[in-house]
Symmetry: C2
Subunit: 213 residues, 2 copies
DNA sequence: ACAAAAGTGTTAACTTTACACCCATGT
DNA sequence: ACATGGGTGTAAAGTTAACACTTTTGT
């Protein structure tokens, strides 16, 4: 039986929650957009398959991945039986902007509430990934694993707002997040485009696993 | 590639959280205990595979299953490459007691903090299932799906205590659970072994997805 | 000096915790 | 009538939610 690893790579650019999709160049689903992914070889784990594919083909290395769900509907791929295992990753806005220098019309970041025509069952895969993310970011251990390091509080707040689907008060967010004892200042500040630059934070080495928001 | 579906079937009997394991009768891991499970056929989904196996081989039908994790380490099965997808289910104490009539020395409920020698990577699978359950029971929608219907409040409280690993105050548990607006009285009472019989509840048809405990 | 975004403190509403007695049933 | 476990209320502590002004930077 064939097994594929699929990955939902999210980011927030400009306060918008986005996902990276690839345009399919061959039938079936030619011209549709699909999740990055690859077949799993006999000598590789799922995690290796995803890491190799994303770093080699998408130029995003050292991302962290969290497993999401395994899809096994008989006809999810019309050509042959393929079982798909989906992963979630979050990438830093700054790396996205860098990477966008290499323009490729078959690779694009889409806002999650404005997706293009999606091929296979990948719309379902994406929707479940967003649902899962909603839960994952509420566990401090999963948040630390998945969220790129050296972030500002406004950055991580925007992520919460987009994923949870509602706004949060800046003062209350700060208070709660700092009180949770997960992060420490790096001493640096983010290169602000305008306005006062925000302090950069990183997760502490050892954190307690607790629920947030 | 070979894919197997594995299932962690939990119950609480006599206030103890237990898991159903089978004794392996052939090498490798002869005499070790393993999770129930079966290879996935070309014509079946993972969910069908588990449902069929559990109802036919274990005599427990109409259980609900939640997917947990997919294990793909190259050598997790020494004989051949097998990718394993694990599921979680919870079964009602009353059905467990009924089923125990059919004694089978190769099938046993073990307390989760007193497990026997476990074959393959199933100890890891079980430990992750317990961790996952800790999160799942905190989402009302997952709780409703997974928890057998017509329960008493002391029953569901004991489950929380075992899964979360600490005791909860009876009065506060009740207040919070009832306030969450998830359940309604059935009008019946549980056949108590001793003491005042507890009221039976069921989940409402429509519940809001919220976090508990 | 102005525009833009970051950072901060206080109070009221709500939620959680801690705690002790009465109730319904079987023996 | 007693033993066993189920069911209930209240007050103090802690948490969350609502709210407006000052600070730092670039232009």
């Amino acid at each position: 039986m064939n097994i594929e690893a699929l990955v939902n790579i999210f980011t927030i650019v400009d306060g918008k929650f986005k996902i990276l999709l690839l345009r399919k160049k061959t039938e079936p689903y030619k011209g549709y957009w699909i999740l990055p992914g690859n077949m799993v070889g006999k000598e590789n784990t799922l995690e290796e398959t995803i890491e190799d594919f994303v770093s080699e083909k998408l130029g995003l290395s050292n991302l962290e991945y969290e497993q999401c769900h395994t899809f096994s509907a008989i006809d999810r791929n019309p050509s042959k039986r393929v079982i798909g295992v989906s992963f979630i990753s979050i990438v830093d806005e700054r790396r996205v902007l860098l990477q966008q220098a290499t323009t490729d019309e078959n690779r694009e970041w889409f806002e999650i509430d404005n997706l293009p025509k999606i091929g296979y069952d990948h719309l379902e895969v994406i929707q479940l990934a967003i649902e899962t993310l909603k839960m994952k970011i509420r566990r401090s251990s999963a948040l630390k694993k998945i969220f790129p390091s050296d972030f500002t509080l406004p950055e991580i707040q925007k992520m919460y707002e987009q994923v949870l689907g509602h706004d949060l008060d800046r003062r209350n967010f700060r208070k709660k997040f700092v009180k949770a004892d997960l992060i420490e200042e790096t001493g640096d500040r983010a290169p602000g485009m305008t306005g006062r630059p925000a302090k950069l934070y990183q997760f502490k080495e050892e954190i307690e696993d607790k629920l947030l928001f």
